[in-house]
Each structure stands twice: as structure tokens, then as C-alpha cells.
């Protein structure tokens, strides 16, 4: 068992608010440089750049998990992270079927689908920054049905977080974990945000710019850097666990 460093929330140039420099390949290179072992790609309401990141990761031994940051109709952001691209694509189809509107690149930014060699494949025209018509219950149930990790995003933020928008964390929602942003150390969140002690908490960079990749990370004690091992660590099973101390507000090198 050893410590693995994970940044479970990184945007690419496919998110309209993501910088052009956030190509899948550049993110993978930066992650290695920062000493990360595991990353998850979580663009707004899409997983179309996850395949390229996974392939780029395979070339250099970085575990890349396909994910999405999905916006519910309550405008709460939830991370959905999967073991395989197939599952991520199933989630994406469900999200696309409930995501109205078209992007205005001039207003929101461009949405670039790229391959693992930094080549532009296409532009996504959906309104990825928008809210789906899914209630938080519908979304959480779907993520769990697809065996994804279901993580309430940046719960410390004053917008798009479950606490800001819904006042508190409803007890009957089946989150795998909660994410506290880089803005607040986990130790502070544990005291200042009511109700989070019932959940495992991670922290991640939510990077939109390349220099922010790995700005904060979560330490996991695992046998191997895999999806199943992370799930076990989040549940605290079989000796796998989140390593709190090393993660709190600390930069990677």
C-alpha cells in the first residue's frame, strides 16, 4: 500500500471557461510534472475530451479517469467519475438529452474537442455551461446506477454548490464523497460546513488554467492507482483510505 496523489477535478479546453492551453495532452504532461498519479477529467456537462486524456495518460503511466461536472436544475454542480469511457459516454448521452440550448462562443468561450496529439477535432456547439433539466435526485440516482463516483463539487463555494443553492446537504442523497475546493482547507471545512462529517471529503484543483493543475490534491492510500481502489479508499474499506494530513492546503512540490 502506498500514497497516491489525485487531482479529481480538472477541466479541459472543452469547457467554455477552460483555457485554450488546457489540451488533454498538456494536462497529462503537467500532471506528471506536478507529481500526480491519478487525475479525473471533469468538463461541464460533457466527457468528449476524456478519451484523448486517457490515451495521453497511458503513454506516460498516469491514471486518467473519465468524468463530468454536471449542473442540475437547482444549479448544483456534481462530479460524476467513471471507471471506463463506456460508462462516461452513457452518462453523457443522458446529460445531453437533458441539456437545452446552444453555446455562444463570443459570450461563454470556445468548446474545443481535441485528440491526444493536440490536434483540434471539432467544436462542441451545445450549451455546456448551462444547467440540465435534471433534479439533483435524478442525477445522483443515474450516476449511482452507472456505478460512478458521485461527488458534490466545491461545497464551500458561494455559487453552484449544494450548500449555497440548497441551504444544506439533504440527508437522503447518495453521494460517494464531497469535494472541498482549493479555497478552503479540509480541516476548516470540517468545522465550518455543517453536515459534512458524515461524508468522505476530497479536495481538488478545479483547474481551468494549466498552472492550476495539481494546485491541491487528495492523498489516497491504495494498492494501485485504479478506480476500484479509489472507491474503496473513499469508503475506508480494506485499509484503503484518504490520507488527510498530507493533503490539507498543500501544494504539490
Amino acid at each position: 500500500m502506498k500514497l497516491y496523489r489525485a487531482d479529481m477535478h480538472i477541466h479541459t479546453c472543452l469547457s467554455p471557461c477552460g483555457d485554450w492551453g488546457m489540451s488533454p495532452r498538456a494536462i497529462v504532461d503537467k500532471s506528471r510534472q506536478k507529481g500526480l498519479d491519478i487525475i479525473a477529467i471533469c468538463d461541464h456537462n460533457t466527457a468528449e475530451n476524456t478519451g484523448a486524456a486517457i490515451r495521453a495518460g497511458q503513454k506516460c503511466g498516469l491514471t486518467v479517469l473519465p468524468g463530468m461536472e454536471i449542473c442540475t436544475k437547482e444549479e448544483v454542480h456534481v462530479l460524476a467519475i467513471f471507471e471506463t469511457p463506456d460508462r462516461a459516454v452513457m452518462m453523457q448521452s443522458f446529460v445531453y438529452a437533458h441539456l437545452p440550448g446552444k453555446n455562444s462562443p463570443d459570450v461563454w468561450g470556445e468548446q474545443i474537442v481535441a485528440d491526444e496529439n493536440d490536434e483540434v477535432i471539432t467544436e462542441n456547439s451545445r450549451f455546456l455551461i448551462g444547467a440540465t433539466t435534471l433534479s439533483i435526485y435524478e442525477l445522483v440516482n443515474k450516476i449511482n446506477d452507472l456505478d460512478g463516483l458521485c461527488i458534490a463539487a466545491h461545497i464551500d463555494r458561494s455559487a453552484f454548490g449544494i450548500v449555497s443553492n440548497l441551504g444544506f446537504i439533504p440527508e437522503d442523497l447518495q453521494f460517494t464523497a464531497l469535494e472541498v475546493s482549493w479555497r478552503m482547507p479540509l480541516s476548516e471545512a470540517a468545522v465550518s460546513i455543517p453536515g459534512i462529517s458524515n461524508f468522505p471529503c476530497i479536495t481538488s484543483s478545479d483547474a481551468h488554467y494549466i498552472e492550476d493543475v495539481g494546485k491541491v490534491w487528495t492523498g489516497f492510500m491504495l494498492e494501485a492507482p485504479t478506480f476500484d481502489e479509489i472507491r474503496m479508499a473513499l469508503a475506508g474499506r480494506l485499509g484503503r483510505r484518504i490520507v488527510q494530513k498530507e493533503t490539507i492546503g498543500k501544494e504539490v512540490r
Partner: protein, 111 residues
């Protein structure tokens, strides 16, 4: 003004919490971020929102609200209706935009 007067005067559809139609309306608040509503809504208000999630019932109880009005044609989730009925908290629906309805309420003295 009582909650029942709101319903008749402004043509609102009462979809839950009919037991609470005799409550006194002590003021008003508009907002969709529940954390903000918890922080700022006056006690005893009628609350205009578009949030449909059942947490609105908990927030309304916390702030001893007179009633919730969902504006803009929004409808509450099923769990929200059940909870509001349980608590006797009136939930009313309006097709009007929040701004328009709030202006009308203000004009008749709901302040």
C-alpha cells in the same frame, strides 16, 4: 394580509399546505440561493422562488415563512409537495415572473 388573501387576490394555485391558509403574511423575500434566503429572509415572509427542491420546505420552516410562491410557471418536486402538506406550509404557483409578482405584492402593502 393572510395567506388565503394572497391566493385569491393574485390568482395563485395552492398546490400544498392548505392547512396553513390562515397564516399572517409579515413581509416578503425573493431568492433562489437557499443559503442567502436562510441568511436574509425576514421571519414570517411570503417567499418567491423558482427552486423546486424539497429543501425549500425546511428553509421556510426555519424562517417561519407564511407561504412559498413558485413563480414563472415552475412546479415543485413531488417530495416537496408531500413535505409541505405534512407541515401545513402553503405552496402556491404563479405563471408571472418573480419581478412582476413581487412588485404587485409590494404595491398592496406586503413589505
Amino acid at each position: 394580509m393572510q395567506t388565503s388573501d394572497l391566493a385569491t387576490q393574485f390568482n395563485l394555485t395552492v398546490v400544498a399546505g392548505k392547512k396553513g391558509l390562515d397564516r399572517t403574511v409579515a413581509g416578503g423575500h425573493c431568492g433562489d440561493l437557499l443559503s442567502e434566503v436562510i441568511a436574509n429572509a425576514p421571519i414570517g415572509s411570503v417567499w418567491l422562488t423558482i427552486q423546486a427542491h424539497q429543501n425549500i420546505v425546511a428553509v421556510a420552516i426555519l424562517k417561519e415563512m407564511a407561504a412559498i410562491i413558485l413563480t414563472g410557471g415552475n412546479v415543485p418536486d413531488a417530495e416537496t409537495l408531500a413535505k409541505a402538506d405534512e407541515e401545513g406550509l402553503p405552496i402556491m404557483l404563479s405563471d408571472q415572473r418573480m419581478y412582476d409578482l413581487a412588485g404587485q405584492l409590494y404595491a398592496v402593502g406586503v413589505v
